[in-house]
């Protein structure tokens, strides 16, 4: 309620707040908005990565050789972070094997390869006549079953986000239709053509997270979308807010700041301050999942860039390959210099075109030398501070850069490296063409590696302490056993001699003992292996006790 009071008490007109920093990048949206939103023909081959957000893999429940129908569940989510996967069309599962996915490194990940039969037979789906009849838990369960994740870019599973919000209570639901990235127009096209469905999706989300308020946010220079949305919102309790154009107002943290004036605490989810943000595309997917009963098998993707003859927005099936889509738009290969998935500022540059569209792929940009000139050489940082002005997190990028170069990670942490959202505004404005984001990413990777090492070393330390404890206990309890048993055939001379004299005395006893001990050790080893398999780290303390 604090938020509502604040909103209504202080700012009845819902004027947006200012965000920190930000840049004004040239927009290239109109050319992909010229034509209408179009469905894509079904390609021959679909590649469906088991993880749609490059996080945790879902578990495949089909095998190679299975015939599947459209909307059939292919893989189910069993761990936090994974989302269910459904068949976008009917066909044959040819294999489940590694394939290149859309990330910066051209990594291989486990994918379901689906050969479409062209018939597009669907399993029976049950449209919900009245979603209002469902309570929020039912809605949540259906959203989860439909395999919906955030379609804006990060791909966080929507059902998990909603349940997170339910724990802390949500005052405000924000439907983010702000596409601040200069090339993307998918959400705008969606709202322009299917605004009513998006609004229904927003209503469903609102009742699913029990939010008291809901706002759809648009950029104020997108007149068509605003008009369409105003029409759709006529009889709705959902409000509309427009924000001044600028990058990165569409970022989750930034849009919360712009709408509410509040900041998401560092290392916390927005739900902790009572706000949830969903992408407009997600709202549309939710609408389809509840009202039509269709799971998430397609998304709206912008295809743009100078080398494309007809840039447009497509409703693409998940798993369609990028080269297939480019061919549909008529690509001029002579001018094509590279491909970006996502926006030009936060997107990923692909190493190969044979990667599938995923649930998070909101835009495909064919690069040309004119729009994306080759990187100029990196010059020295002159500490001009443009980056600090542009940073939406109010970091000091020039300092972070210096610390990253000096590998001074202590200072990096003190200066909030992990509050960097990698929006790229700093690198965009840098007059010395320093790839700042890359420095931060490498520093973050180094810090994470160091922390992994630290955890490892803590583990080793514990083990060593237990080892010492065991040795001490052995020595304390049975010094004669240790020496008599003294496992080594190769020993230093003197102690060996001493031992031998003692050994001679009770040779039979020692032999019996050592056989027993060997047995015990084997049993113990088996137990230890089992324990490890069960996911526990075998505690040497129990070993020590059983060792005697």
């Amino acid at each position: 309620m604090r938020l509502v009071n604040r909103l209504l008490g202080r700012r009845s007109d819902r004027a947006p707040y200012a965000i920190f920093g930000g840049i004004a990048a040239d927009a290239y949206k109109t050319r992909s908005l010229r034509s209408r939103l179009m469905p894509v023909p079904i390609p021959k081959q679909l590649v469906l990565p088991l993880s749609q957000n490059l996080g945790v893999d879902a578990v495949a429940i089909v095998e190679a050789g299975d015939l599947v129908q459209k909307f059939q569940l292919l893989a189910e989510a069993d761990e936090p972070g994974s989302v269910a996967l459904h068949a976008p069309t009917s066909g044959l599962v040819s294999s489940i094997s590694n394939a290149t996915v859309a990330d910066e490194f051209g990594s291989q990940r486990l994918c379901i390869h689906l050969q479409s039969d062209g018939e597009d037979r669907a399993i029976e789906i049950v449209p919900e006549a009245d979603y209002r009849a469902l309570d929020h838990l039912q809605l949540l369960e259906r959203i989860e079953r439909a395999g919906i994740c955030g379609l804006g870019g990060a791909g966080f599973p929507s059902a998990q986000k909603l349940s997170l919000g339910m724990k802390s209570g949500i005052d405000l639901l924000i439907i983010n239709a702000v596409e601040c990235e200069p090339f993307i127009s998918a959400d705008e096209a969606l709202i322009r053509e299917r605004g009513a469905s998006v609004v229904v999706g927003a209503e469903i989300l609102k009742s699913a997270c029990l939010a008291s308020n809901c706002i759809i946010v648009l950029q104020e220079d997108r007149a068509d979308a605003i008009e369409a949305l105003k029409k759709a919102l006529e009889n709705s309790s959902i409000e509309l807010m427009t924000l001044a154009a600028g990058y990165p107002v569409g970022g989750e943290k930034q849009i919360i700041q712009a709408v509410t004036g509040m900041e998401v605490p560092s290392h916390a989810y927005p739900a902790s301050i009572g706000v949830l943000v969903f992408n407009a595309g997600t709202a549309y997917a939710v609408y389809k999942a509840i009202a039509d009963g269709e799971p998430c098998v397609s998304r709206i993707t912008t295809l743009t860039g100078a080398p494309l003859q007809t840039p447009k927005n497509f409703e693409t099936l998940i798993g369609t390959s990028v080269s297939f889509l480019f061919d549909l738009c008529g690509i001029d290969t002579t001018r094509h210099t590279g491909t970006i998935v996502g926006g030009s500022l936060m997107g990923i540059q692909l190493l190969t075109l044979d990667v599938p569209v995923m649930k998070t792929s909101n835009c495909l940009i064919a690069m040309s030398a004119a729009e994306f000139p080759p990187d100029e050489p990196e010059l020295a940082c002159i500490r001009c501070g443009f980056c600090a002005e542009a940073c939406p997190a109010r970091l000091l990028p020039q300092q972070l850069y210096a610390f990253s170069r000096a590998h001074d990670h202590e200072q990096n942490l003190a200066h909030g490296l992990f509050d960097c959202i990698e929006c790229g505004a700093c690198a965009y404005v840098c007059p010395s063409h320093i790839p700042l984001v890359q420095y931060y990413r490498s520093s973050k990777a180094e810090i994470r590696a160091q922390q992994r090492r630290q955890l490892q070393s803590q583990h080793w330390q514990r083990q060593f302490q237990q080892h010492q404890y065991r040795i001490k206990k052995q020595q304390d309890e049975a010094p004669h056993q240790i020496s008599g048993d003294a496992v080594g055939p190769v020993k230093d001379d003197e102690p060996a001699k001493k031992n031998r004299s003692r050994e001679d005395g009770d040779k039979t006893e020692a032999a019996v003992f050592s056989r027993e001990r060997a047995k015990r050790e084997i049993a113990e080893a088996v137990a230890r292996v089992r324990a490890r398999k069960a996911g526990h780290i075998a505690s040497p303390r129990t070993d020590a006790e059983s060792d005697g």
Partner: protein, 372 residues
């Protein structure tokens, strides 16, 4: 199930703004033009000769230093930073300075104050001012006498700066190797060694000034005074241009100018202690404008956080006024800027802005935990 990446990724963003360091530096030089032109008009070719000499030496020294350090010469020369240093240095030293003065200052500026620190972006102190202060400390006499070519004099009080004779004499002044300048008569030197009105003000002493005030004489009525007024206006215009182009931020110049104005208003008392001078005199009677807009704002050595910039400006402003009024040096900009540079890293550290999502209290506490 991720396997090892096969290649090193290309990091976002893929799109960049069109600004580049080299162009920024050129714009700074361009912004100097009004001021330099006015100064040349009033003080003769000496100003231009200084700048040319300094620029050529700076480029040669920069190239040598880059060569010695084994850096890519073309790439690093293209950032034009040595040129900016040279222009600022050339403006700072009095016209008519000999070539060896220029050479020594530029050497100190480029080699010691810049390249020993690792080149552009790493230097802690403003190179041009380092060179200037070195000269000021070593050759106080030479550095405070402004030689206006007397061949350019048309009659006793006015002169045309752009005469050929004036050019010749300026050249001779800076290159005494090729013959001695025709300024042997001590009288003419005295008459033409013009300093800033502030210096005259300071040297004249209270009594003379009171008399001047009584007589209703404004310090700006004289040639040199008017000249300085206009020169400063020129630099002010250039500086405003830079702010308009968003090459420098307004914080530093505003803080400096505000501080100097406040101080001079605070201490100015027209009846008794006229030695303190009016705010107008402090702002336009000396090198305040070029200091505030061009020298103190050198991004490399200035503070970079917003609050840091304001404190930095205040420190410089206080030092400018303090040294001018109470100190024994006549020109205070260079010392003040170096003092500011000395404090800048600490200011930056202490004035870090509050990061998004961090409460006001946790600002200085380093976070050790990391998001999963």
């Amino acid at each position: 199930m991720q396997t090892q990446p096969s290649a090193i990724g290309i990091s976002s963003p893929m799109q960049h703004s069109q600004r580049s360091t080299g162009r920024l530096m050129l714009l700074v030089i361009a912004a100097c033009i009004p001021g330099v032109a006015t100064a040349t008009w009033y003080f003769g070719f000496g100003v231009l000769i200084n700048i040319m000499l300094a620029a050529s030496m700076a480029i040669i020294l920069e190239a040598c230093a880059l060569k010695l350090r084994g850096r890519d010469m073309r790439q690093h020369l293209s950032d034009n930073s040595a040129l900016v240093t040279a222009v600022l240095f050339g403006i700072a030293i009095p016209p008519g300075a000999s070539w060896w003065l220029v050479a020594m200052g530029i050497f100190f500026a480029i080699v010691i104050a810049k390249h020993i620190y690792g080149g552009l972006g790493q230097n802690l102190f403003n190179p041009a001012m380092c060179g200037y202060v070195l000269l000021l400390l070593s050759f106080p006499v030479e550095m405070t006498s402004w030689h206006i070519p007397n061949d350019a004099l048309v009659d006793g009080s006015s002169f045309s700066a752009f005469s050929l004779a004036g050019l010749r004499q300026s050249l001779l002044l800076s290159m005494p190797v090729f013959g001695s300048a025709q300024m042997s008569s001590p009288d003419s030197i005295d008459g033409l060694a013009m300093a800033t009105p502030l210096i005259e003000f300071k040297m004249a002493g209270t009594g003379a000034l009171l008399a001047a005030w009584d007589a209703g004489v404004s310090l700006f009525s004289r040639d040199s005074g008017a000249a300085w007024e206009l020169v400063n206006m020129g630099y002010l215009c250039g500086g405003l241009f830079l702010i308009y182009k968003r090459i420098i931020s307004w914080h530093i110049p505003c803080a400096i100018i505000a501080t100097v104005t406040m101080m001079s208003m605070l201490f100015y008392a027209p009846d008794s202690s006229a030695v303190y001078g009016t705010p107008y005199l402090h702002l336009f009677g000396s090198a305040t404008m070029i200091g505030a807009f061009f020298i103190a704002t050198d991004p490399v050595s200035a503070a970079t956080t917003v609050r840091g910039k304001i404190y930095y400006g205040i420190i410089i402003g206080l030092a400018i006024y303090g040294i001018r009024v109470w100190g024994s040096y006549l020109d205070s900009i260079a010392f003040a800027v170096l003092l500011g540079n000395f404090c800048a890293p600490a200011l930056d550290y202490l004035c870090r802005p509050r990061i998004y999502g961090h409460g006001k209290k946790s600002r200085s506490v380093p976070t050790t935990e990391v998001e999963p």
